[in-house]
């Protein structure tokens, strides 16, 4: 019975259509593809929203709470960064890679890897190191999404900042994350971290 059905539908699939025009099939498929792609991207971008990220209490009660008093959350100009601005690459391929890496976060949510303050603190250093390595590896790409070095006005920075930026940063010896750790969330135990 199932074999007969399979044979029947397979023959429909593998032979030219008798009742639907080429125009209908092509246009229909094209429009369906557009609808799908729009839906796919809408969902993808939804997973980049702050509301989505903090729907996990692990995020809302730890890193989001720590973000609130920082300059990346509230400041004079009201220009701020949300979770994805720093943690999700803009370019498509790295973004898709990051989204598959997020399966680890889904696992963590299901199995409660960091679902208590104690568990979170125990893993804080490891999670921080992962992000530091990621940003060091891509030359602080997400920082540079907003902070363009070429347009920095050194005359409006503190003497320490102006000197640091015009030397190590300009030469490429250092990247943003080397000095600006803890800019958004509380630092872990920093023993063994160069420069701290």
């Amino acid at each position: 019975m199932l074999r007969r059905m399979t044979k029947r539908y397979w023959s429909v699939l593998s032979t030219p259509s008798r009742y639907f025009s080429l125009g209908f099939l092509t246009l229909g498929g094209f429009i369906a593809g557009i609808i799908f792609w729009g839906g796919f991207n809408t969902v993808l971008e939804f997973t980049n929203t702050e509301a989505f990220c903090i729907s996990c209490h692990e995020m809302e009660e730890n890193v989001f709470a720590e973000l609130k008093p920082t300059i990346h959350y509230t400041n004079r100009s009201g220009v701020r960064a949300t979770c994805s601005d720093c943690h999700v690459p803009h370019a498509w391929t790295p973004k898709i890679g990051r989204k598959m890496e997020a399966s680890k976060e889904v696992w963590g949510k299901i199995f409660g890897t960091i679902d208590t303050p104690e568990k979170f603190e125990a893993m804080r250093r490891e999670m921080a190191e992962r992000e530091w390595a990621r940003l060091k590896n891509n030359d602080s790409l997400e920082c540079r999404n907003c902070h363009n070095f070429d347009y920095m006005d050194f005359t409006r920075q503190s003497p320490v900042a102006a000197s640091a930026h015009s030397t190590a940063l300009a030469s490429g010896q250092k990247t943003c994350i080397d000095c600006h750790k803890g800019i958004a969330h509380r630092l872990p135990d920093m023993s063994g971290v160069p420069g701290y």
Partner: protein
Amino acid sequence: MPSPLDRTRKRDERRVFLFLTVVLAPLLTVVVIGVYGLGVWLYQSLTRPPF
């Protein structure tokens, strides 16, 4: 007036078309993109220098 066999065939074609556009193509696309993403993730974890 389409004969019963023609009507069956037409119905089958409609079903296959809908299955392809609404189920199979979207599913395959998500799977292919997912596998691509896994590849990117694997590549990055292998080529990332230690912090």
